[in-house]
């Protein structure tokens, strides 16, 4: 669909932010659509039955699972966040509703969050030394695909570990600037 109104990123720009500090790169992701999927009471089996054909994984607690088209992470008992490419899934809530019927409650979350991908290049460097200044997650001990709710700079965020040197952060969109500042400041303190 041609853009009807010009989108503005959470940081007030018209394109995603990219910041590099030492070996760390912070990349804002504006190309992901997001929705919550909450199991209706007693409809777990129906949801599981509908999710698989829809390409919607339903991982267990504290896990992210990639799928096509949906990558999903667990956020609460019976509740997941599903992400998919924005270009094909701007209407992600309607698309999920169509796939899952009334087995789940779907809520669009795309613009509730700002997404930052953190990547550290260089062997053995990893993200642990940065994240230990930001949140109380035991990142080195967590497996890849670990997904958790935590707090950075007083802000509730989701953190997904994609590797020893890679993580995705979902933070509250209205505080995107504060969150990015906290990430940058911590990175400058480390590197």
């Amino acid at each position: 669909m041609a853009e009807i109104l010009q989108a503005m990123t959470a940081l007030g720009a018209h394109g995603p932010a990219r910041v590099a500090v030492g070996p760390l790169s912070i990349t804002e992701r504006v190309d992901l659509a997001l929705a919550s999927v909450a199991e209706r009471r007693g409809r777990g089996a129906d949801l599981v039955g509908a999710a698989s054909p829809a390409g919607l994984p339903l991982p267990g607690p504290a896990r992210y699972q990639a799928g096509t088209p949906f990558g999903t992470f667990w956020v609460a008992p019976g509740m997941w966040f599903a992400e998919a490419p924005f270009a094909s899934h701007e209407w992600i809530a309607d698309q999920l509703r169509a796939a899952l019927g009334d087995a789940a409650s779907i809520t669009e979350q795309t613009d509730a969050w700002v997404i930052f991908d953190l990547v550290v290049v260089g062997e053995g460097v990893g993200l642990a030394s940065l994240l230990e200044r930001l949140c109380n997650v035991d990142f080195p001990a967590a497996p890849d695909g670990f997904a958790t709710r935590t707090v950075m700079d007083h802000l509730g965020i989701y953190l997904i570990r994609q590797g020893a040197g890679a993580a995705r952060i979902y933070g509250p969109r209205s505080s995107a600037q504060s969150l990015l500042h906290a990430l940058e400041a911590a990175a400058r303190a480390v590197w």
């Binding site: 009807i4 109104l5 007030g12 613009d111 509730a112 969109r173 505080s175």
Partner: protein
């Protein structure tokens, strides 16, 4: 000045010379020195003045327990008072200044206090400065505070950065002496994740200060070897310069890492210190022991120091404390100092061993020790000329962290000290000297065993190297009974044996009373050298045993922590994160004035050219909105998506009014009560589908209401099929209000929004600008024909610009929270001032909204007698009789002629604005029996503002009371 007291050996780098100043005078030292060791090397013994009597003092110790050698380090904004010279790591260019003296350290005018000491005994202030009462705060206390004190702060903003962080480990080892090193080595080799933290910049603890061998090598070399091995282990994190300051719940420990204190200033962008929260599955406290002095007359002169410290200065720092040295001890450890000094070629004049009946009964030397008086077992006295005296009264295990959960240490007669008992923090074990095991072999053994036990290790553990295993031999001597003068117990607080006697005499015999009465154990050193001595003296005086006398409570932090470290990054503009609305960038372009609402920055008003005063902008925004159309960003209101087959029934329970009957495509104003029947929050809730509602909350309570609903869903009614999620940030929402609101929106919204198609209180999904998904609500806070339109947040900025552009013919105005407030008061809508947590629906004139046809949270308790008084507070409108008169929110209602006293108080003004329509201030208020007083005249009295204004009580609906405009 040359380093005249520097001797051979030591762990300093003589290849480099560091320059530093003390009170402006230049000195040199070497890497590895502390400020104290470097000053002593240069023959400087006098480093400070005491707290109360301004007595000349030098270092008593060589560690963090130091009570005397407190200095101001650095200058300008980085000046830090009360820095212990004994732990300040020397760097090139270090500037230190003595404190608590005037005009100079050598000549301190306030030393007159020492001459007047009999007036300054414990409790003196409280007994003396009793009259007149008002003088205490205004006169006596300021004078006393000026005379007695520690360093002074810079009064400038701290230029350094401070970080906070979080670490996780299987085993936290606190202290890197022989016990800690062995515990870390055992756990590290077994593959456990280990953190080894030590407050010193050089790990090794007492091994660096002693001449013992471990196995075939010097203890310090053995320590260095272990540290080297640990450094190669990826599972071990070595944290020198890190003080574990507290043991908290669930294995959480606080630790301060000093990254920049040994540098002239921290590297750019790097923190000076980090406050770590360490999550440890298990911990080993290997924090060593602190030596204590023996109290005798004039035992506080510069040159008199603890024997272990003097040994440390000689062995680690290659410094002798003097040219002629004596040792006074009640235990074998003191004899080690004599042996080590002699081996270093220092002139050891005499060892006075109290166990043989010899005592030191006095000393002389105004600014530093010149001689001591010895009394032998036969009572014969003689003076010996010495410039340094080493004193050992025994060693106190550092039980502080063990006791942070209020565990009481137990008394051990064999080492004559308190040792940890069995009730310390769960998961924490104590090893080495901290556990009362004072030999090197014992430290190695208990360190290893503690790690094995803590982690349940079963494999091979490191062999124990050979090390000294002497049994401590001590005969207690707390204070020398001879002598009439003052014998110091707590040198930092100038507490003497006499003060303890006075406390005992006046029945302050509990240790807690003793502490408060005499100040024993207070201030920066928290009595690390003096506490046990003080309570032992109290025990002697009261005929009780020391364990019967007990200890005071040990609390974090273990050593002082800079305020900046506790604040971390949360200061100044970074005190808290900011939330920006979707229109923030547009508003910034317009030079809008923002107001903080929680973390949100909301537009307060948007000044136009030529407007010099805020009221001009706000009046214009109000008038323009009511005349044509205004737009306000209302994204900050909480939005909660409520779905599920029981969503309607759920809302019926959390709202006082009914929502299950609301038709799809409609919205309704809802009132939410607390359990106690008072109003919690309000807002509109729309039904978007059979099983889907979206609730709005006030900005302030957005998080609280969401939490409340989650509590209801998860805990009160887990059987209901309800799913909740916040969507506050997902949608950019704008109120479009005014007679031309529909005309403007018709240019934006793709669907028919005529009154017939989209009537008052309609709600639903629409598209805008040719297909963008949006939500539309026909609700009004302003009393105007109004809509709220929402689009995905990323399009909010563009939507606002599009509305202003497409609706230009209607001359739309963007209004801020001030105009919003004016219009809602004109309309009589309640907001923060009325939703004050003390008010009922009845108070607000909304009593009928509490449905009695169903049960809901707060319904029953809202009917309590006290809340249903017909004469109780009711919401009223208020106008000044004289339109030019000013009203102030918070003013109280009084009858005409009534005295302005609480008994006549009839209520108060909750919100006040200036109404450009009415042409005067108007206000809302809670007035007793207010509904029956419409039309009456009263007074609004504000004694603080000096206002007493005659007002007319009117309906709270100042504007369009019939609501014709909003239904238009």
């Amino acid at each position: 000045m040359t380093q005249s007291n520097r001797i051979s050996g030591g762990q300093i780098d003589r290849g480099q010379t560091l320059r530093f100043t003390f009170d402006g005078q230049g000195f040199t030292g070497h890497p590895g020195d502390t400020l104290a060791s470097a000053l002593l090397a240069n023959g400087v013994r006098l480093m400070g003045r005491s707290f109360k009597y301004h007595r000349p003092r030098g270092p008593l110790t060589a560690g963090s327990e130091e009570p005397n050698a407190l200095v101001e380090l650095r200058s300008g904004a980085r000046r830090e008072p009360n820095t212990r010279a004994t732990v300040a790591e020397l760097f090139d260019g270090l500037e230190a200044t003595s404190q608590n003296r005037w005009p100079s350290l050598r000549f301190d005018a306030m030393a007159v206090n020492d001459r007047l000491s009999s007036f300054f005994a414990a409790g003196f202030y409280y007994k003396t400065f009793m009259w007149p009462r008002s003088f205490w705060e205004k006169l006596y206390e300021p004078i006393i505070r000026r005379a007695a004190g520690l360093g002074s702060v810079s009064r400038e903003e701290d230029p350094d950065l401070y970080d906070k962080g979080f670490l996780h480990c299987d085993l936290l080892v606190i202290g890197a002496g022989p016990a800690g090193l062995m515990a870390a080595l055992t756990a590290g080799r077994a593959g456990a994740r280990v953190i080894l933290a030590d407050e010193d910049f050089r790990m090794g603890g007492r091994l660096n200060a002693e001449t013992f061998t471990i196995g075939q090598v010097a203890g310090a070399d053995w320590a260095a070897g272990v540290v080297t091995e640990l450094a190669t282990m990826p599972n071990v994190r070595l944290m020198p310069r890190t003080t574990v300051i507290g043991a908290f719940d669930h294995g959480i420990h606080g630790a301060v890492e000093r990254l920049g204190d040994h540098l002239a200033e921290p590297a750019a962008g790097k923190p000076r210190q980090i406050l770590w929260r360490i999550y440890a599955r298990r911990s080993v406290l290997a924090g060593g022991a602190t030596e204590r002095p023996i109290a005798f007359e004039n035992n506080d002169r510069p040159g008199i120091m603890l024997a272990g410290a003097m040994r440390a200065y000689a062995n680690r720092w290659a410094v002798t404390a003097g040219q002629r040295v004596a040792v006074f001890t009640n235990n074998d450890d003191g004899l080690r100092t004599a042996a080590d000094l002699r081996a270093k070629g220092v002139d050891l004049v005499e060892v006075i061993d109290s166990r043989k009946g010899d005592m030191i009964v006095d000393s002389r030397g105004r600014l530093g020790l010149k001689s001591v008086t010895v009394q032998d077992s036969k009572g014969q006295r003689r003076d010996i000329t010495v410039d340094a005296l080493a004193v050992s009264g025994g060693w106190n295990p550092n039980v502080n962290l063990y006791s942070h959960h209020r565990a009481r240490p137990v008394w051990d007669d064999t080492i004559v000290a308190f040792v940890p008992g069995a009730d310390g923090p769960p998961g924490l074990t104590v090893a080495g000297a901290a556990a009362g095991v004072l030999s090197t072999h014992g430290a190695l053994r208990t360190g290893r065993d503690a790690a094995i036990a803590a982690l349940g290790l079963t494999g091979a553990a490191p062999d124990l190297p050979e090390a000294e295993d002497a049994t401590p031999r001590i005969t207690p001597l707390w204070h020398v009974p001879q002598g009439k003068g003052r014998a110091w117990i707590d040198q930092q607080n100038d507490v003497t044996v006499k003060d303890v006697k006075l406390a005992a005499q006046e029945n302050f015999i509990s240790v807690e009373h003793l502490k408060r009465y005499t100040t024993l154990g207070m201030a920066t050193d928290q009595g690390k050298t003096g506490n046990v001595l003080g309570l032992a003296v109290m025990a002697e005086l009261t005929g009780r045993s020391i364990p019967q006398t007990g200890t005071t409570i040990y609390r974090p932090p273990y050593t002082p922590v800079a305020m900046g470290t506790l604040a971390g990054r949360s200061r100044g503009a970074e005190f808290k994160p900011v939330r920006m609305t979707p229109s923030h960038h547009w508003a910034r372009e317009q030079c809008a004035v923002f107001v903080e609402v929680g973390n949100w920055l909301r537009t307060q008003w948007v000044p136009k050219d030529g407007e010099t005063e805020w009221r001009q902008s706000v009046d214009r925004e109000v008038l323009a909105t009511r005349r044509s159309v205004g737009i306000c960003d209302v994204t900050t209101l909480g939005k909660i998506d409520i779905q599920g087959t029981d969503a309607g029934a759920f809302l019926d329970r959390v709202y006082a009014n009914t929502f299950s009957t609301l038709k799809v495509g409609k919205c309704r104003y809802g009132l939410m009560l607390r359990e106690d029947g008072l109003v919690y929050d309000d807002g509109t809730t729309a039904r978007l589908a059979e099983h889907e509602y979206v609730m709005t909350t006030t900005t302030a309570n957005a998080v609280g209401v969401f939490r409340h609903l989650e509590f209801c869903r998860q805990c009160l009614w887990p059987d209901m099929d309800v799913q909740l999620i916040s969507t506050t940030e997902a949608w950019a929402q704008f109120s479009v209000a005014g007679p031309n609101a529909r005309n403007l929106l018709e240019k934006i919204v793709d669907q028919d929004i005529s009154d017939a198609a989209f009537p008052y209180m309609g709600a639903g999904n629409v598209t805008v600008c040719g297909g963008l998904r949006a939500r539309l609500f026909r609700i009004s806070f302003s009393g105007e024909l109004a809509f709220e339109i929402a689009v995905p947040t990323r399009y909010g900025d563009a939507l606002l610009r599009e509305m202003l552009a497409r609706g230009a013919e209607y001359d739309p105005v963007v209004y801020g929270t001030e105009a919003l407030g004016v219009m809602r008061v004109e309309k009589g809508h309640v907001a923060g001032g009325e939703l004050n947590g003390q008010s009922t629906a009845l108070n607000m004139g909304l009593g009928k909204m509490v449905s009695q046809k169903k049960d809901s949270i707060g319904r029953v308790l809202s009917t309590r007698e006290g809340l249903t008084d017909p004469e109780g507070y009711r919401l009223v409108g208020v106008r000044p009789v004289d339109p030019a008169a000013r009203l102030t929110a918070g003013s109280h209602f009084l009858d005409i002629g009534a005295a302005a006293v609480a008994a006549n108080d009839a209520g108060w003004l909750t919100s006040k604005v200036y109404s450009p329509h009415i042409g005067s201030d108007i206000a809302l208020g809670y007035l007793k029996a207010g509904a029956g007083r419409i039309g009456q005249r009263m007074r609004a009295v504000n004694l603080l503002a000096g206002q007493d204004t005659e007002v007319e009580i009117v309906s709270p609906h100042f504007f369009d009371p019939e609501g014709e405009r909003l239904r238009g």
